[in-house]
């Protein structure tokens, strides 16, 4: 614990981090309720139904928001966990990089997929 606090350095960064975790949490409360209801309604639906659902501008927009907020919230959360448990500096830095790059890649892929459908791909 002591070690992790020392490595965390500035409290400023921690506060900024903490704040973003809360902002995304508030947004996700509403977005996740929307997503749960939508996916429940789409259970077992045909390709066309899912495709046309995603193509609707409102759905496209909300889906991108869900993806972006979820993945950002996830990366912030995983970062806190890594900082709590990994105390070797080099391992920590590499793990954090992997988390950040993976999240970035995943978010980008999802957003491109959603936009691809929106612009009439396939």
């Amino acid at each position: 614990m002591k070690e992790s606090k020392k490595n965390l350095g500035s409290a400023k960064y921690g506060a900024h981090h903490w704040w973003h975790q809360r902002v995304t949490a508030v947004a996700l409360t509403f977005l996740c309720i929307w997503l749960i209801i939508s996916l429940t309604l789409l259970t077992g639906s045909s390709y066309d139904a899912a495709y046309n659902w995603l193509k609707h501008p409102l759905v496209t927009g909300l889906s991108i928001l869900v993806v972006v907020f979820t993945i950002y919230h996830l990366s912030l959360g995983l970062q806190v966990i890594v900082e709590d448990y990994i105390h070797t500096e080099i391992t920590k830095v590499i793990t954090l990089m992997l988390i950040n790059f993976s999240c970035l890649l995943l978010g980008l892929t999802c957003c491109l997929s959603i936009l691809f459908v929106f612009f009439g791909g396939n």
Binding site: R22, L41, T43, G44, S63, L74, L106, V117
Partner: protein, 131 residues
Amino acid sequence: MEKTRPLSPHLSIYRWQISMILSILHRITGVGLGIGTLMISYWFISIASGPKSYSTAQWFFDSILGKILIFGFTLSLVFHLLNGIRHLFWDIGLGFEISTSKKSGWTVVMLTFIFTLIIWLSAYIIKNTYE
């Protein structure tokens, strides 16, 4: 007040246990939701990739493994969401009292099962209307 005093240590250990468990669960479900995020991502990507990929994704989500994963995902998401709201109330300084936090903790546990059940029942009924 005097009468309840001897019970206090016991009660405080009890509260410590439920809040401890829920706090660990918040972390575990947080990581678990990362896997759920991968599944949702796969679903979005499969829609963009066309009908064949979509039916592969549907086959996977409909398999035993898929169902177990989605059930865990539903349970985790509902719990994390409700307990997250509990966290947010603490952050604005509400609900810290021992009795309140114990009550809200158990409420979260109960609602998690109730909402998960409602979601799965609805999904089951809706899926049957498609078939």
